[in-house]
């Protein structure tokens, strides 16, 4: 529970952890039903139905930045403003 919360950058209290743990367990329990299926002779796949969907490399126009940033928690100089995050992405 702790590790999952850390990866999601969630700061959970001990009480919250205690409450969520059985909930997460019961969600995982539901997925167990899938592993009971008999998949003998069925090949793995990453998607069902559609295949090879692509679009031409043609610009479609973008959103007005104001529309986008209206949904931002905070805005500064046309950027999303978030708490200072040091470290970096991949």
């Amino acid at each position: 529970m702790r590790e999952t919360a850390d990866l999601a950058r969630l700061d959970l209290s001990d009480e919250e952890c205690a409450r969520l743990e059985p909930e997460l367990d019961s969600i995982l329990e539901h997925f167990k039903a899938l592993s009971e299926l008999d998949l003998e002779g069925v090949e793995g796949t990453a998607s069902v139905g559609l295949q090879d969907v692509t679009r031409p490399d043609v610009p479609q126009g973008s959103m007005d930045p104001e529309t986008l940033l209206a949904r931002a928690p905070r805005e500064r100089d046309s950027h999303y403003q978030v708490p200072r995050a040091v470290g970096g992405s991949e």
Binding site: S47, T54, L68, Q81, A85, G87
Partner: protein, 494 residues
């Protein structure tokens, strides 16, 4: 403290022990598409923040990604240029992590079924650097860290990249530098990426470990990031290798931990950024929004047909068929634009050696010195047909070498055509022989010793008279003709 090196071996100044580094590279290259990987937003460098975004690339609820077909084409072409095997089936996966530049909270990437594996690049030492894999993925946004917090611009979010990962086949900072140079030129020649590091189109991370010479197996590797130029890659390794050796020698096994370090070019050191998240922490799974892909024979062959001759082959051909030196062949294949320009001009003029000299001594020099406003020879208004015209006029004697150089420089400066410039410089004015003879006589009278020295067998002494005659003619006389006239006058008078 200076480190002595013996080939790939680093000799510790503390203990005299011999250590060898093992290096692998991860290179991200931006594919030259008009739009992003999964949406129709335009890819642009330097646009105002957040002006190239849409519901897809900003991760709005319900938005569905659709793959850009040009990405597949360019990625396949890159794979072929690098001698890699293209997979027939592939798909995208989600790599889950949380960071403010990643609006969807996952990066669409490829995990266990990358579109391509194998291939590699041969270095001049003969070492073949194997590629483990190449995969397609989307870029994240750009974050600026300020006092007021981090500011995020999502213009770059969703821009298509290929990430290539080498095996740990490199064993020196110089190898890493050469590999990157070769890698970049292959992508540029193949036309899949402009790979401009200053625009962030090519980014490199380094993995490096060290071990005592002869020790079996590899020790803990460290990842180094924030390498904004090939020079930085090389210098960061020149500092990271001794750092690891010193740590082992001071603290023993276990002194180097698996981590990501940032290169600080100002202080010339690497420092800890974070202890790496394990691969399982990314919880990869196939992206349910993107259907599986089949890379057909037709797609692969159509891209193979578009592959131009690559720099290594061109260098070999310039030497064997055109008779150029290894150095000239290297200079002329420095970029696709240079090589294409040279080849067209050489074919038109029929004189590859003269063309090579003009391209490297005049055109590339002017470009490098900033005398012309162009990023490459492809942008010059002075075209290969103009250069071949000058070369032909010089060969036929219509222009003398000094005039030809002046002509090219003037054309580059003004952007005017060759014939107009010949007229405006007066290079077409014929200087009649009696006028030339009069100037030559004046010059000989002003320098009486020249006559004696030439008669005594020192032909070089003529040089002192050529300058004044050139000056008198306003630079229009042909130095070769002046020499003939001077000789004639001296011999005739003796």
């Amino acid at each position: 403290m200076s480190w002595e090196r013996d080939g790939h071996v680093w000799i510790s100044p503390q203990t005299g022990a011999r250590w060898v580094p093992t290096i692998g590279l991860e290179v991200h290259a931006q594919l030259s598409t008009k739009t992003k990987l999964f949406c129709g937003c335009e890819v642009s460098f330097g646009a105002p923040p957040n002006t190239h975004t849409c519901p897809v690339c900003t991760g709005q609820p319900g938005a569905l990604p659709v793959l850009n077909e040009a990405v597949l084409e360019l990625a396949v072409r890159a794979a072929l240029a690098l001698g890699a095997d293209v997979a027939r089936e592939t798909h995208f996966d989600r790599k889950n992590y949380f960071y403010c530049d990643l609006p969807k909270n996952f990066q669409t990437s490829q995990y266990d079924h990358p579109f391509c594996s194998g291939g590699g690049i041969e270095l001049s030492s003969g070492v073949f650097v194997r590629l483990n894999r190449i995969h397609m993925e989307e870029d994240a946004g750009k974050t600026m860290h300020t006092e007021a917090g981090s500011l995020v611009d999502l213009n770059r979010a969703g821009v298509p990249l290929i990430e290539s990962v080498t095996e740990a086949d490199l064993s020196s900072p110089e190898d890493a530098y050469e590999y990157l140079t070769r890698f970049r030129e292959i992508l540029q020649f193949a036309g899949v990426s402009t790979a401009d590091m200053e625009k962030g189109e090519l980014r490199c991370d380094v993995n490096v470990s060290v071990r005592p010479e002869g020790e079996e197996g590899l020790r803990t590797k460290v990842e180094v990031k924030n390498l904004n130029s090939f020079r930085h890659v090389q210098s960061s390794l020149e500092h990271e290798i001794p750092r690891q050796v010193a740590a082992y020698e001071a603290e023993g096994a276990g002194a180097v931990v698996q981590e990501t370090r940032l290169w600080d070019p100002d202080r010339e050191e690497t420092r800890t950024m974070r202890v790496k998240e394990g691969e399982s922490d990314y919880r990869y799974f196939p992206c349910p929004d993107l259907p599986e892909l089949h890379l057909t024979e037709e797609l692969i062959e159509s891209q193979r047909a578009l592959l131009p001759e690559l720099p290594k082959e061109r260098r070999a051909r310039y030497q064997s068929e055109l008779g150029l030196s290894e150095y000239d062949a290297g200079v002329l294949t420095g970029s696709r634009a240079t090589a294409d320009y040279f080849e067209e001009a050489a074919e038109r003029s029929g004189d590859p050696k003269a063309t090579a000299n003009w391209v490297s001594n005049e055109l590339l020099r002017a470009l490098g010195a900033g005398e012309v406003k162009a990023a490459s020879l492809a942008e010059l208004s002075f075209r290969p047909s103009d250069l071949s015209l000058v070369i032909q006029k010089a060969a036929s004697g219509e222009l003398h070498s000094k005039g030809a150089r002046e002509l090219v420089r003037e054309c580059l400066r003004t952007g005017e055509g060759v014939e107009e410039t010949i007229q405006s410089l007066g290079l077409d004015e014929v200087i009649d022989d009696s006028q030339l003879e009069a100037w030559c006589e004046e010059a000989l009278e002003a320098n009486p010793r020249v006559r004696d020295e030439v008669l005594a067998g020192n032909a070089k002494a003529l040089g002192a008279c050529i300058g004044p005659v050139m000056k008198a003619s306003g630079g229009k006389a042909d130095p070769k003709r002046i020499t003939e006239v001077l000789k004639g006058l001296i011999e005739g008078s003796s």
